[in-house]
């Protein structure tokens, strides 16, 4: 069954469809949670909370605003960041946007419509200046505010803002231009 069919069934409170979607995306969500939280127990709690949230709020998914996998990835990451803050701890801070030790989780999805775009995004990240990638990584995986990053790196807040703005604009432009190809 396609994702769209499962989502329609979930909107009708079909628990079997919900479990099918879980099976399909559990590794994907867990990978994202683990990347942020850095330990198995917290990452599994985040995995369960993400799917529970999905079950409760499936109506908030709007297919016209983007692919389901993208929406789910963002949901998982935000829940992981919230959990990180609740625990009031940070795992070993990740200052790299990409890891070399494993394949990106999106490459394991069968129906990942944006796979090519994500590959392009990966290539662009590899070419970002290190200091720009660093501030994005600290905010994206560490949930750090711009002020916290400035404090952590001991650099002016304005510098953090400039680096972040520049990096995000580059990434967004590249993401959108790859969408138009």
């Amino acid at each position: 069954m396609e994702d769209t069919q499962l989502i329609s069934a979930i909107k009708q409170r079909d628990q079997t469809a919900m479990l099918q979607l879980y099976e399909r995306y559990a590794d994907y969500v867990y990978s994202i949670a683990y990347r942020v939280l850095g330990d198995q127990e917290s990452a599994e709690e985040c995995l369960q909370d993400t799917f529970w949230r999905l079950w409760q709020r499936i109506d908030q998914f709007d297919a016209t605003r983007g692919a389901f996998a993208t929406w789910l990835a963002r949901l998982a990451r935000n829940i992981a960041i919230d959990r990180l803050r609740q625990m009031r701890r940070r795992p070993k801070l990740s200052e790299a946007l990409l890891s070399d030790d494993a394949q990106p989780t999106m490459t394991f999805l069968e129906d990942w419509a944006d796979r090519e775009r994500a590959e392009n995004l990966r290539a662009l990240i590899e070419n970002l200046p290190a200091e720009q990638a660093q501030v994005i990584a600290l905010s994206f995986y560490g949930g750090m505010s711009q002020a916290e990053i400035a404090d952590y790196l001991n650099i002016p807040l304005g510098t953090v803002k400039t680096r972040m703005r520049s990096a995000l604009q580059k990434l967004r432009t590249a993401w959108e231009s790859s969408d138009q190809k």
Binding site: D27, Y28, Y34, L72, I81, T105, M106, D114, A118, M164
Partner: protein
């Protein structure tokens, strides 16, 4: 606000790295700007793509079974049934306004509420719409305390109606959480923070009702805080 500043605000909002106060500011911009909404949509898809680059890992053994059990438990838990009523007609064509708080027990100074909203330990519960009513309702509470705040963005009502918050423990234990009075954030005190509550929002006659008379428009579950 110039274009560059707007983009930075939207990007950091999408990154979920803003304080509660900053988030509220961006949400106010989003509520009135189609341009900001489109920019947010673009950043959200970008960040979804970025998240999907996480190194692949297999979910722990038994995780699916644990989720299955959680889902099955919902079947056995009966949601409190509230009498149905025609409540949407008065609000169908209404415009959005910002309603920022509801008091349960005692109103607190605004600075105390701001501290609570920005506390990194805070537990945040998004109440889920149960019908066509648009809006958002969020409950923020401090762990190991009985303190919380309800923040809502809901359409305005006719002058003789108000939104009312309910703290539901069971079908026989439904307590009023107060009515939405004005735009100021107001502190909420939970009767017993050791309990989990189903939080519900209904529309009631001005001044509130002793028990809900309408169907819940929003529902959410607050876990025990102690």
């Amino acid at each position: 606000m110039d274009e560059q500043e707007l983009e930075e605000r939207i990007a950091t909002y999408a990154l979920n790295i803003l304080s509660e106060t900053e988030r509220a500011e961006v949400e106010a911009i989003l509520a009135r700007s189609a341009e900001a909404q489109e920019l947010l949509r673009r950043y959200e898809t970008l960040l979804g793509g970025l998240a999907a680059l996480a190194p692949h890992r297999s979910a722990p053994e038994g995780a699916a079974e644990r989720f299955r059990a959680r889902l099955a438990a919902e079947r056995t838990r009966k949601r409190p049934k509230l009498p149905l009523r025609l409540i949407f007609s008065a609000i169908a064509a209404a415009l959005f306004i910002l309603i920022t708080g509801v008091l349960l027990m005692a109103r607190a100074p605004e600075d105390e509420i701001a501290i609570l909203l920005n506390d990194p330990r805070a537990v945040r519960v998004e109440l889920v719409p149960q019908g066509a009513l648009q809006g958002s309702v969020r409950f923020i509470a401090l762990p190991n305390s009985d303190q919380g705040v309800l923040v809502a963005e809901l359409p305005p009502l006719a002058a003789d109606r108000q939104y009312q918050l309910w703290l539901i423990v069971s079908e026989s234990d439904i307590r009023s959480g107060g009515v939405l009075e004005d735009t100021r954030p107001l502190r909420v005190r939970l009767p017993d923070p050791r309990l989990a509550y189903t939080l519900g929002i209904t529309i009631e006659p001005r001044g509130g009702s002793p028990q809900p008379t309408g169907a819940p428009l929003f529902l959410g579950t607050l876990p025990p805080l102690r």
